[in-house]
Every structure is written in structure tokens, then in C-alpha cells.
């Protein structure tokens, strides 16, 4: 089920909220069960077969958590360590089989003289997100950072909670441990959640979907017929599409969380205002980068064991980050590309970079981010290089009428997208509400209602348009 759909907005969400709030706040265990049931229904809507896999994974990790806790309490660190390794291998096997086995076997079949038979299954939606969540619980439990969760209902709710189940943010157990047992509700919090949900939906429906049409059009043209200007317009369109699509989803997830009394950490912080690639990754998909930092980079030794190992660690993390996004060479190339760029910044550019004029720093960052998206959006490495060729004038010339048409017809949209990528809107709203007081709040609320009404109008006429990050 998609958040930005009429069924979700007018049927599923109201039903979930009514059932949830009909239960008095003091019966939090019952509220948890209500939310769990709706979360399972939400998942089962699209993938009834894979609900079993998700619940099975949840059940296994719940038991493995109990086992680790039992061994730690009995001062049997070695046995706890064995269970930890079993849990990691078990979780990675599930993720690996459903997400990467087809890719691995098709590559092996291409180089081996025999054909390994393999039946590829559809990717279970959200598997990368919920596997990382369960692993964060198991690892943190072993490290003593979190307490064991003895209630299966609470643990299952942590893994399956529908606002963040399908496309994140990756919520670490540490961040919601207390909220599973006790959370604060208020009308203001609910209102802020609803406002955040509406803003996210607006980002997806108005901005991401509209600019996505430009990218779909341009990327459908063979790169040899694509002028450099058209290729740049195309990839800039995709740059905006993926940001507003994914950050819109995160806004909706965080907003829905608030509506049910939860507080999730932010996933984006205006990444396109970054002045370096390092800063970009501190602002983009923050829950994923912090997961890799915490559970891969630091355990590998981080920057504590000399330059050579630090370089290795950075490359491993970025290779895995690329691979996490999908079983495709393009994602691996995208991850390694960022690994190399970050190494370049850390060891070479950092001495001069901060002395460049701010404008140049932004330009440099966005140039490399756009190039990165070419790999991310392409179906093969060959296509990515062909598109990059077009961007640098090796396709259909420098500029053509088609490019000018795309630019002129979408000029206003591009201006809106640039403004929406900056924190100006948020600051203006804050200032407006501060200065105008109640009138400001009322007008802001009216603004949200207008966005909601217009979005619904769009959704009624629009065909199905899922989020880009659903495939991860």
C-alpha cells in the first residue's frame, strides 16, 4: 500500500487512527496490538506471501535476543557471541537469498561453462529496512546498549510498524525502546504529525511526480541522440525527483509516527545545500549512513588503526552502501564512486576545499552528486557511461530544440524545486507563526488544508505512482 493513495488517506489511516485512539492511553499494550494488526494488514495488502517471511524473521530475532540476554546474564559471553554470529549470518542469509542470489547466480552463469538453475523470486518489499532494524537490536543487545525486549508484541511492533516499514527511516531499537512501553500524546504532537504527513505528500505528488515526468521522457531517448543540455536537464530532474520522492516518504513516515505518539529521527537535512560530499552524506538518508557507521565502519576499526585501514574501511562501507540499494552493478559502482570521492576529500581536497568561495563549493558538490545519480538511475554501467557521454557533449551535440523546450516548459517548476530544496520555507513559516501568533498558526493550518485538497485532487486523476525507494 502506498501512503500517497486515496485508499490509504481516506480508508486505511482513519480506520487505524480510530481503532488506536478508541483504546484508552493507559492500555498501551492494547494500542500496540492495534497498531501491529494494522501494520501487518498494511504489508499484506501488496505482498501477502511475504508477511510470513517478515513475521518469521521477527519471531527468530525475538528468540535470538532472549538467548543473547540469557547468556549475558549467566556471564557466558562466548555463547552470547555465538548466538550473535548466528543471528547476523541468519539475517544476512535471508537478505542475501531474496535480494542478491539472482544477481550472484546470473553473474556466475555468465562466466561458468555450466548453468546453475535458479528461480528468482520477487523482492520482498522493505526487506533491507526491516533486516537492518532487527540486526541493530541484536547487535546493540549484545553490546549492552539496549535491554532485552521480553514482549513479542512490542518487538514485532518495532519491526513491522507501518509508517517506517517499507522505506524507512531505519529506526534503531535504541531510539524507540522507551516509546514502545510509554509514549507521550498531545493534540499539538498529532497536529504536527498530520502537518508533516501533508508536507511529505505534497513533496511526492506535486514535486517528485511532476519533475519525474521530465526524467522519464529524457531518459527514454537514446543517449546518442541526446544533447548535452537535455542530458543535464534530465539528470537534474532526477536529482530533484529522488530527493523529493524519498524525503517526502520520510516526512510522511515521521509524521505518521507522531500521529501514533512516536518520535522517529530525521532522515534528511536539506542535503542539496551541502558544500562537500562529506557534508552531503551527513544530510542524505542519515539513518542508513549512521547505521553503516555504527555497525560496519567503527567495528572494522574506523579511523583508529592507521591510514591504510581507514581507506579500506571507507571503501568497504561504501561498497556495502551501494550493494544495499540493490543487486546491480550500477549500485555497486555508485557506492564505490562515493567511497572514492570521500577518500579524495578526506586526504587531498580537505586542505583547500574550505577556502573556495561558497558558491564554488556548492557547485562542486552538486556536480558530483548529479554524476552519481546517473549510475544510480541507469539500468547498466554501459547505459550510465553512454548517458554521461551525452552530458559531456558526446551524444547529440551541445543543445537542441528539445532541450530548450524542456527548459522553458519546466522553468517555473525548477525554480520551485530549487527553493523547496533550501531551508527558506521552514524559516519563513517559523518566523510567520512567531510574528503573527494565533493568526499565523491558523493561516499555516489553512495552507496545509490547501495542500491536502490539491494533493487529493491530483491523486484522483493520477495513475499508480509508487515511491522510488520501495525497490530497496
Amino acid at each position: 500500500m502506498v501512503f500517497s493513495s486515496i485508499f490509504f488517506i481516506f480508508m486505511f489511516l482513519p480506520a487505524a487512527l480510530i481503532c488506536y485512539y478508541l483504546v484508552p492511553a493507559r492500555f498501551i499494550a492494547v494500542r500496540n496490538v492495534v497498531l501491529l494488526i494494522f501494520s501487518i494488514l498494511f504489508y499484506a495488502w501488496g505482498e501477502p506471501v511475504y508477511v510470513i517471511l517478515m513475521l518469521f524473521s521477527t519471531m527468530c530475532n525475538y528468540f535470538l535476543g532472549l538467548d543473547i540476554n540469557h547468556n549475558i546474564k549467566e556471564d557466558r559471553r562466548r555463547e552470547a557471541g555465538r548466538t550473535l554470529i548466528f543471528a547476523i549470518v541468519f539475517n544476512l542469509f535471508i537478505l542475501g537469498y531474496f535480494k542478491y542470489a539472482g544477481f550472484l547466480i546470473s553473474n556466475l552463469n555468465a562466466i561458468l561453462p555450466v548453468d546453475i538453475p535458479f528461480k528468482e523470486l520477487p523482492l520482498p518489499i522493505g526487506i533491507s529496512f526491516y533486516t537492518f532494524q532487527t540486526m541493530s537490536y541484536i547487535i546493540d543487545l549484545y553490546r549492552g546498549k539496549v535491554g532485552v525486549q521480553k514482549s513479542y508484541m512490542r518487538f514485532a511492533l518495532y519491526v513491522t510498524m507501518f509508517p517506517q516499514l517499507i522505506a524507512g527511516p531505519i529506526v534503531r531499537y535504541d531510539d524507540v525502546e522507551k516509546q514502545l512501553a510509554d509514549r507521550q500524546y498531545s493534540l499539538t504532537k498529532f497536529g504536527n504529525g498530520a502537518a508533516r504527513f501533508i508536507v511529505g505528500m505534497g513533496k511526492k505528488v506535486f514535486l517528485a511526480n511532476n519533475i519525474g515526468v521530465v526524467w522519464t521522457d529524457i531518459s527514454a531517448t537514446a543517449p546518442e541522440h541526446l544533447s548535452a543540455l537535455a542530458a543535464w536537464i534530465g539528470i537534474i530532474a532526477y536529482t530533484f525527483q529522488i530527493y523529493f520522492d524519498f524525503s517526502g516518504y520520510s516526512d510522511m513516515a515521521i509524521g505518521l509516527g507522531k500521529m501514533f505518539g512516536f518520535e522517529f529521527l530525521e532522515n534528511f537535512n536539506y542535503p542539496y545545500i551541502a558544500k562537500s560530499i562529506t557534508e552531503f552524506w551527513r544530510r542524505w538518508h542519515m539513518s542508513l549512513s549512521s547505521w553503516f557507521k555504527e555497525y560496519v565502519y567503527i567495528p572494522l576499526g574506523g579511523n583508529r588503526e592507521g591510514t591504510a585501514k581507514q581507506i579500506r574501511n571507507i571503501l568497504v562501507v561504501w561498497l556495502l552502501t551501494g550493494l544495499w540499494h540493490g543487486a546491480q552493478w550500477t549500485f555497486i559502482a555508485w557506492g564505490v564512486y562515493y567511497g572514492l570521492l570521500l577518500l579524495l576529500e578526506k586526504f587531498v581536497l580537505s586542505r583547500w576545499q574550505t577556502r573556495w568561495p561558497a558558491f564554488l563549493q556548492h557547485l562542486y558538490c552538486m556536480l558530483f552528486v548529479c554524476i552519481g545519480w546517473v549510475f544510480f538511475a541507469s539500468s547498466s554501467i554501459g547505459n550510465a557511461f553512454a548517458y554521461l557521454g551525452a552530458m559531456f557533449g558526446f551524444g547529440g551535440g551541445i543543445a537542441d530544440g528539445t532541450a530548450v523546450y524542456y527548459l522553458t516548459t519546466n522553468f517555473l517548476l525548477f525554480v520551485i524545486l530549487i527553493l523547496a530544496s533550501l531551508p527558506i520555507g521552514r524559516r519563513l513559516k517559523q518566523k510567520f507563526v512567531e510574528v503573527k501568533g494565533r493568526v499565523g498558526v491558523t493561516l499555516a493550518m489553512a495552507g496545509y488544508v490547501v495542500i491536502l485538497v490539491l494533493t487529493v485532487g491530483y491523486l484522483v486523476t493520477e495513475s499508480y505512482n509508487p515511491f522510488l525507494y520501495f525497490r530497496f
Binding site: D67, T216, D217, A220, Y464
Partner: protein
């Protein structure tokens, strides 16, 4: 000791259950005995035909669109685009055996690529629909659809051919 044995038993059970689940998913779950016509009737309603304007096509079009010979497969039902600017189509194929499925799937993928080339640069809506084309396989059955209702038709197909 007793606890360790139970914990080990639970871990073994987890692995066994996981493999059993994967085996269940990968082994064919299709009702291969079901007649193709019955599947087609359950998936493609008269209303869909009227709404989309698609029209029934024969072996010649199967060859032209997909490079597939009707004689090589058990049967097929094909509805082609209503006009030259339309991309809506529905294809259900029943193969003679499961080893044919990969080749049939490749032929369908080639058809999508070909259509994307045809509408390249000017057919925004057509390209959008082609990018969201649905291909589903189960046992000896393959389903392919392009159009606004492709996703829901795909779900009907999965239900129809399930054992």
C-alpha cells in the same frame, strides 16, 4: 546444559523452517492443469476490454510482437493495442513446459524495449505505462500487461493460477 540443548534446537528449527519456506516459494505453486481459457476469463473481464479498447489478436501478431510461434507453446490469449498510438496490451501464455518460461519472458521483455524505442521522445504517457508494465510468471503460465490497470490484473492472474 538443558537450556543449551533447547536453544540449539530452536536455532536448528529456525534454519529448517527457513529452508522449507524457501522451498515452498521456489517450487511451482501454479495449477498447471487449469485451462488457459479459464485463466483468461478470470483475469480479463468484458469491462476491461471495453474500457481499454484492446482487441483480440492471433498467432500472426504473437509472432510479430513477440517473435513467438504459436505451435511452440501450449496456448495463448493476446489482446493488442487499440490504435497506433496506444500501448495497452494483455498477453497470457501457457507454455508446454517450465523450461520454456525464461525464453518467453525474454521475448516479452524485448517487446517492452521495442515499444519504449517506438515511443521514445514523444509518447510521455505511453513511456510511463510501458515502464510500469507487469510481467508475472507462475508454473507454465506467463502474464504480461501494459496499461493503467496492469497491476490489478497481475494480482488477478496470480490468484487465478494459484493451486
Amino acid at each position: 546444559m538443558k537450556y543449551d540443548k533447547i536453544a540449539l534446537g530452536v536455532k536448528i528449527a529456525m534454519v529448517v523452517l527457513l529452508f522449507a519456506y524457501i522451498f515452498m516459494l521456489t517450487s511451482s505453486s501454479a495449477d498447471n492443469k487449469k485451462p488457459l481459457e479459464k485463466v483468461a476469463d478470470q483475469v480479463i473481464s468484458t469491462k476491461i476490454k471495453e474500457d481499454t479498447g484492446i482487441r483480440e489478436e492471433g498467432a500472426k501478431e504473437l509472432k510479430r510482437y513477440y517473435s513467438l510461434n504459436a505451435a511452440d507453446i501450449d496456448g495463448f490469449v493476446l489482446y493488442g493495442p487499440a490504435g497506433t498510438m496506444d500501448v495497452g496490451e494483455i498477453l497470457i501464455i501457457k507454455a508446454k513446459d517450465e523450461s520454456q518460461m525464461e525464453d518467453i519472458r525474454t521475448s516479452v521483455q524485448n517487446r517492452i524495449d521495442e515499444q519504449l524505442k517506438n515511443f521514445n521522445g514523444y509518447g510521455t504517457n505511453q513511456t510511463e505505462l510501458l515502464n510500469h508494465a507487469v510481467i508475472r510468471t507462475n508454473g507454465r503460465f506467463l502474464f504480461f500487461a501494459v496499461g493503467d490497470q496492469a497491476a490489478s490484473l497481475g494480482q488477478s492472474f496470480s490468484k487465478s493460477v494459484r493451486k
